[in-house]
C-alpha cells in the first residue's frame, strides 16, 4: 500500500489481533480496513456516513455500509465483532454516550481514538484569544464544524467509566505522530497529548 497510515490508525492497527472480525465505525475511505485486511487478514466491515467514501470502499473490495453511527448501530447484534473501531469519530456524533454504549455491546473490545481538546495549546488559545480554538486537526469555526462533541482525555476516561468500560490500554498521541502508553488518569497527557487511543472492554460481559 502506497499511502502511509495515519499515526492513530497505525496505533489502532497494532491492537487488532490477526484474523479478527472487525467493525470500523466511520471508516472513511477504508484506509485502516484495507491495511488490516492485507497485514492482519482481518474479516473487516465498515460503517460510513459519506456515500462517496462508501463507494470508494466498495470499489476497493471492502465490505462497507452507508449509514449513521447515531442511527444505525442498534441494528447490529450483540458481541459479533472481536473489535469495534471508532477513530476520530466520537466527537462528530450527536450522542456519544449512546454510540459508546452500542460499541461496547457490539464488540468484545472497542478501540477509540480521539483528538484531545485539553491540549495546552488549545487551552492557551482560548485563554489568550478568547475565541473558540482552531487546531491543526480540528480546523473549523465553531458555527460550522462536524465536531460537535469535543472532549479532553479526562472527559473521555470519565465517560468510559460511566459507560461501564475498563480501559485495557491507553496511548497518548504526540504531535510528531508517535504514541506512548499512558495512565489514563494521568495529568500530563491530558495537557500535552494531541490525542489518545483507548482499548476498552465492557466491565461485565453482556
Amino acid at each position: 500500500m502506497a499511502r502511509s497510515l495515519r499515526p492513530d490508525l497505525a496505533a489502532i492497527a497494532e491492537m487488532i489481533p490477526e484474523g479478527a472480525r472487525v467493525l470500523d465505525v466511520g471508516c472513511g475511505d477504508g484506509q485502516l480496513l484495507e491495511h488490516l485486511k492485507t497485514t492482519r487478514q482481518v474479516d473487516g466491515h465498515g460503517l460510513e456516513l459519506s456515500q462517496q467514501n462508501v463507494n470508494a470502499c466498495v470499489a476497493r473490495g471492502l465490505a462497507v455500509i452507508q449509514g449513521d453511527a447515531d442511527a444505525d448501530l442498534h441494528e447490529y447484534p450483540s458481541q459479533v465483532f472481536d473489535v469495534v473501531i471508532l477513530s476520530q469519530t466520537i466527537q462528530a456524533t450527536r450522542n456519544p454516550r449512546a454510540v459508546l454504549d452500542h460499541l461496547l455491546r457490539i464488540g468484545r473490545r472497542t478501540a477509540v481514538s480521539l483528538p484531545n481538546f485539553g491540549h495546552w495549546r488549545v487551552r492557551l488559545s482560548l485563554a489568550l484569544n478568547g475565541r473558540m480554538p482552531r487546531t491543526r486537526a480540528l480546523d473549523y469555526p465553531w458555527y460550522d464544524t462536524p465536531n460537535i462533541h469535543l472532549c479532553t482525555i479526562a472527559d473521555f476516561t470519565a465517560l468510559a467509566a460511566e459507560a461501564g468500560a475498563d480501559i485495557e490500554r491507553a496511548l497518548a498521541l504526540r504531535a510528531d505522530g508517535r504514541t506512548h502508553p499512558m495512565r489514563s488518569d494521568a495529568w500530563g497527557p491530558n495537557s500535552f497529548a494531541e490525542g489518545a487511543i483507548f482499548l476498552l472492554k465492557p466491565r461485565q460481559p453482556l
Binding site: 456515500q51 463507494n55 466498495v58 470499489a59 473490495g61 462497507v64 455500509i65 449509514g67
Partner: protein
C-alpha cells in the same frame, strides 16, 4: 434430459442473424410453489464468455420483469442491443473475458422458457391461464436445475436489478452454499403495497382489453395489444423519476407549436409513452406480463422465514453488495437498506452503496459510473478471494 437445442420464439425474429442462445427441455417435473408442477418444461438461456477449468468463474445474471436472457449482443426479436450492455461484456464490470455469464429466461416468461404462451403438452394448445402461477422462488428453482444440467455447482456471483434482485436474494436464501457472492441492485425483499397497486393497474388494463379473451387470445387469434400497451405505459412512469421526466420532456409539445384542444398526443411525454407501449407489445406476451407481475407481488422473503428477514440469511457465507439509487421510488433506498441491515443482523459480509442519480429505477440499466466502480471492485475482490 435432452441436449441443449435452439429455443423456439413466439414472436417473429427481427434479427434472424442474431445469436438465438440455447434451450434445455427437462422431462423431470418442475415443482412449483402453487402446489402444481410442469413437465416437460423448457429453460431458454444465453451464455457469454467461457467457463474456466475449475468451474469457478460462473456469474448468473437474473433479468427483470420485462427483460430476458439477451443481456448483451443483438436481440433476435427486437434487433436492438441487449438490456445490460453497460454492465456486461468484454472489459465491462462483469467482464465476459474473465467470467462465464449465464442468463436464463424466467419460467413464466415469453422468450423461450416455459410460460403461458407456450404449448401445453397435454392439450397441444397454448397454456394460457392454465399455466400455474409462478413465484420468484420457482424462477430460482428452474435456474438451479439449469445450472445442474450445465454442471455448474457454484456461482461466483448472482446479480440482477429489480425483479432480478429479488431472484438474487432468493438464490442466497435457497442455495447459500452455491452462491459465493450476491449483488442485488435496486430491489426489495418484499414487494410493497404501492408496487402491488401499480401492477394491479397493469393487469386490469390487460384483462379489460376485449381482445384478451379471458387469456385465450392465442387460440382465438387476437392480441390484447391495447391493454398491454397501457400496462407498459403506466409501469414505465414508475421506472423514471419526476426529475428525469421533467428534464427530458418538460411541457414540450410534439410536432406542433400549440396545444390542439384534442386528445391526440400534444406533449412529448405522451408520445414517448405511446412509443414505449407500442414497441413493448411487439416483443412481450400479455399473459406473461400477468404471471410475472404476480410473481413479484407474491415475493416476501421474510414471510418464508417466520417474518424475520435476517433468518433468511442466517449462517450465510455469501458476500453481499447491495446497490440502490437516490431517485428510485419504486425500489427506494430504505427497502434496499432493510436488506443490508438484515444481513448485518445475520452477521453476513455486506456492502451497501447508494448511488446518486436522478434517473429513477431505470438507473440500474443506464450509464452510472459509480455503479460500475462498485460492481467492478466487488467482483474483483470476490474473484481474488476464491482465485477465479
Amino acid at each position: 434430459m435432452a441436449e441443449p437445442a435452439t429455443p423456439r420464439f413466439l414472436r417473429p425474429l427481427a434479427a434472424p442473424g442474431a445469436e438465438l442462445g440455447h434451450a434445455i427441455t427437462f422431462d423431470a417435473p418442475l415443482g412449483l410453489d402453487a402446489g402444481r408442477s410442469i413437465a416437460p418444461w423448457t429453460c431458454a438461456y444465453m451464455t457469454y464468455g467461457s467457463l474456466n477449468a475449475a468451474r469457478s468463474n460462473a456469474v448468473l445474471v437474473c433479468h427483470a420483469l420485462t427483460g430476458d436472457q439477451f443481456v448483451i449482443g443483438r436481440h433476435p426479436v427486437t434487433g436492438k442491443p441487449g438490456w445490460w450492455t453497460s454492465m456486461v461484456g468484454p472489459g465491462k464490470p462483469i467482464d465476459t473475458e474473465r467470467f462465464f455469464v449465464i442468463c436464463a429466461n424466467v419460467v413464466g416468461g415469453c422468450m423461450g422458457s416455459s410460460g403461458p404462451a407456450e404449448t401445453d403438452p397435454r392439450t397441444g394448445q397454448p397454456y394460457g391461464l392454465d399455466f400455474p402461477l409462478v413465484t420468484v422462488r420457482d424462477m430460482v428453482r428452474a435456474q438451479a436445475a439449469l445450472l445442474d444440467a450445465l454442471g455448474i455447482e457454484k456461482l461466483l456471483c448472482v446479480t440482477g436489478g429489480s425483479m432480478g434482485g429479488m431472484q438474487v436474494l432468493q438464490w442466497a436464501a435457497s442455495y447459500p452454499d452455491r452462491v459465493v457472492s450476491a449483488m442485488p441492485i435496486a430491489t426489495a425483499a418484499r414487494h410493497s403495497a404501492q408496487n402491488i397497486a401499480f401492477h394491479e393497474v397493469g393487469r386490469q388494463a390487460i384483462m379489460a382489453d376485449p381482445d384478451w379473451r379471458g387469456g385465450r387470445y392465442a387460440a382465438e387469434g387476437t392480441q390484447p395489444s391495447k391493454g398491454l400497451a397501457v400496462a407498459r405505459m403506466a409501469a414505465h412512469i414508475t421506472y423514471l423519476s419526476e426529475a428525469a421526466l421533467q428534464r427530458k420532456f418538460g411541457r414540450e409539445l410534439q410536432d406542433r407549436a400549440e396545444i390542439s384542444f384534442r386528445f391526440a398526443p400534444d406533449f412529448q411525454v405522451e408520445s414517448y409513452l405511446h412509443y414505449q407501449g407500442s414497441s413493448f407489445v411487439d416483443r412481450f406476451d400479455a399473459n406473461s406480463y400477468l404471471y410475472i407481475t404476480r410473481a413479484m407481488d407474491y415475493f416476501d422473503l421474510a414471510a418464508d422465514y417466520g417474518g424475520t428477514l435476517a433468518e433468511a440469511f442466517r449462517g450465510a457465507r455469501t458476500r453481499f453488495c447491495i446497490v440502490s439509487f437516490t431517485s428510485d421510488w419504486l425500489f427506494p433506498t430504505p427497502e434496499n437498506k432493510r436488506i443490508a441491515h438484515a444481513l448485518n443482523a445475520a452477521a453476513a459480509t455486506v456492502s451497501f452503496v447508494e448511488i446518486e442519480s436522478d434517473r429513477g429505477h431505470d438507473a440500474f440499466l443506464l450509464d452510472e459510473p459509480e455503479l460500475f466502480a462498485a460492481a467492478r471492485g466487488f467482483l474483483n475482490s470476490v474473484a481474488q478471494s476464491v482465485g477465479a
